[in-house]
């Protein structure tokens, strides 16, 4: 659905990374972990297109200003990379945004009681928080978080507060182990039993590495992808990714916005 939203808070959580809470209609609490929002940052024609962001968190709080006595909110966690996100970072409490949400397919929780591993790279942690919040209700959850440097590893304490066991890796060793998050994950998985399910979100090369590990370990793995989007609803066909059956003769393109952004790793070609 499309709705007008008001910024409640917009805080810089690490240099260049912001967490924004905004109002949403009550129906939005039905959103699934892994679904995303399309935000029109300015009502003018610049930036023209909406920008997609994963839902980081959602909930509601008591307020005297609503008929039901409660106000629903959603949160996004974003990195400033260009014009749109730069303008978003300048917004303050009370500013207005036009949002379409929830969009896309979310994560599949799998069976209760299984151990779940989450792997996040940089701002790819964003959709994993809402997932972790659901999973901890009935699963053991471990998180492997990676980033270039310690500033790029976000909101770890939030995950720990949920009871998630967290491991951190940075390229420069300024936080946690030095190296790639997938290497650190392999080291820890080698000892201890195999997990039952992997979930990953982050840069494409990281996702490809995680998909490879999942295949070797023969465990199901879901990945959340990013793509340049115009519509977010399956109309423009701008956001496609190659599916597992893709070849020049048998094209198999899937829409990240509608068939994803969460995919089974085995459904993609990883080319």
């Amino acid at each position: 659905m499309q709705f007008q939203s008001q910024v409640l808070t917009n805080t810089e959580v690490s240099p260049g990374y912001y967490r924004m809470r905004m109002t949403a209609p009550p129906a939005l609490v039905e959103s699934e972990a892994g679904q995303f929002v399309m935000v029109k940052i300015s009502s003018a024609i610049d930036p023209l297109l909406r920008r997609p962001f994963g839902i980081y968190d959602m909930g509601s709080f008591a307020t005297p200003y609503s008929d039901s006595g409660r106000q629903t909110f959603i949160e996004i966690l974003y990195k400033v990379v260009g014009r749109g996100t730069g303008m978003l970072a300048d917004l303050h409490q009370g500013d207005h945004l036009d949002i379409i949400a929830p969009l896309g397919k979310g994560f599949d929780f799998g069976e209760a009681g299984e151990e779940k591993i989450l792997v996040g790279g940089g701002v790819g942690l964003a959709p994993l928080y809402l997932l972790a919040k659901e999973l901890v209700k009935s699963h053991k959850v471990r998180l492997f978080a990676g980033g270039r440097s310690k500033e790029d590893v976000l909101c770890i304490t939030e995950f720990e507060r949920l009871g998630v066991e967290t491991y951190v890796a940075t390229d420069d060793g300024t936080l946690g182990d030095r190296g790639l998050v997938t290497q650190v994950m392999m080291k820890h998985l080698a000892s201890g039993g195999a997990p039952k399910r992997l979930y990953a979100c982050g840069p494409f090369p990281m996702l490809r590495a995680v998909a490879g590990i999942a295949e070797e370990m023969r465990v199901p793995c879901q990945v959340s992808l990013e793509a340049y989007m115009a519509c977010g609803m399956g109309a423009c066909l701008g956001c496609v990714v190659k599916g597992v059956n893709h070849s020049a003769e048998t094209p198999d393109f899937r829409c990240v916005c509608k068939d994803g952004p969460v995919f089974e790793s085995t459904d993609l070609s990883w080319e």
Binding site: Q2, P47, L48, L49, Y228, M233, A235, G238, V240, P251
Partner: protein, 305 residues
Amino acid sequence: MTKPVMSVEIAGIKMRNPVMTASGTFGYGEEFAGYMDLESIGAMITKGLSLKPKAGNNTPRIVETPGGMLNAIGLQNVGIDAFIAKKLPFLRRVNTPVIVNLYGNSLEEYGELAARIDGLPEIAGVEVNISYPNVKQGGIVFGTDPGAASQVVSLVRSNTSKPLIVKLSPNVTDIVVMAKACVDAGAEALSLINTLTGMAIDLQKRRPVLANITGGLSGPAIKPVALRMVWQVARAVKVPLIGIGGVMNATDALEFILAGATAVQIGTANFLTPAASQQIAAEMEQWLVDNRVGDVKELIGALKS
């Protein structure tokens, strides 16, 4: 004041108002049903359909540019047969004319596509896309050669009795020459414009942004060019025109009508606001009320000069 008359007719297709949705920006209609009333607009035009399913180009396929966007989708579509089997049943239940946008890789394909849809009562008309700038076969670009365009239009004309609209490319030296060639070959209406070929460069990577290198520019950035072309063509041909290019609101739409268009198509705006076409139709009606115009047709080509 009584409600103004909003209905118009294009090549025999009766529409409740002059607002249509542009090919490739409205999916197969179904995608938008949850966001708007599909029976509030004049007509829907499908994604460009080819004889065989088409994979389209590699990614990145789209990029935003100042006031617009470039796309090089490469005509990804399900193909005419899958469209008829899987997409048309939904559209059949919607009481709004459905116009199919057809794209052929060769002259013969255009002919076959036209024959394929001729017997289908749920299709109100055909919009022939001779202007696609992203796909070229054997070096022929039908949209930039009046002789080739004329051949396509004649063949489609002889293969279907459906109302025939031809969509023109702006990537030509003289749009009037193309318009006349299409009308002489049997076009009953003209849609203009399709996207303007452009490109974007990533300086740091020293590469083109789009995998296809070039793409089609759409959105507010192209509106002045589109208005000028509609105005020029309106003075040169007798058939009704459909204005397309950067229509974001009722003001834009009414400007096209003043320039000589009978109807408009909404493209990129659908991506920003899925209900854009419905909203624009409602705003246009309100403008007529506020300005005491009893019938939208009074404004067609009514530009003072």
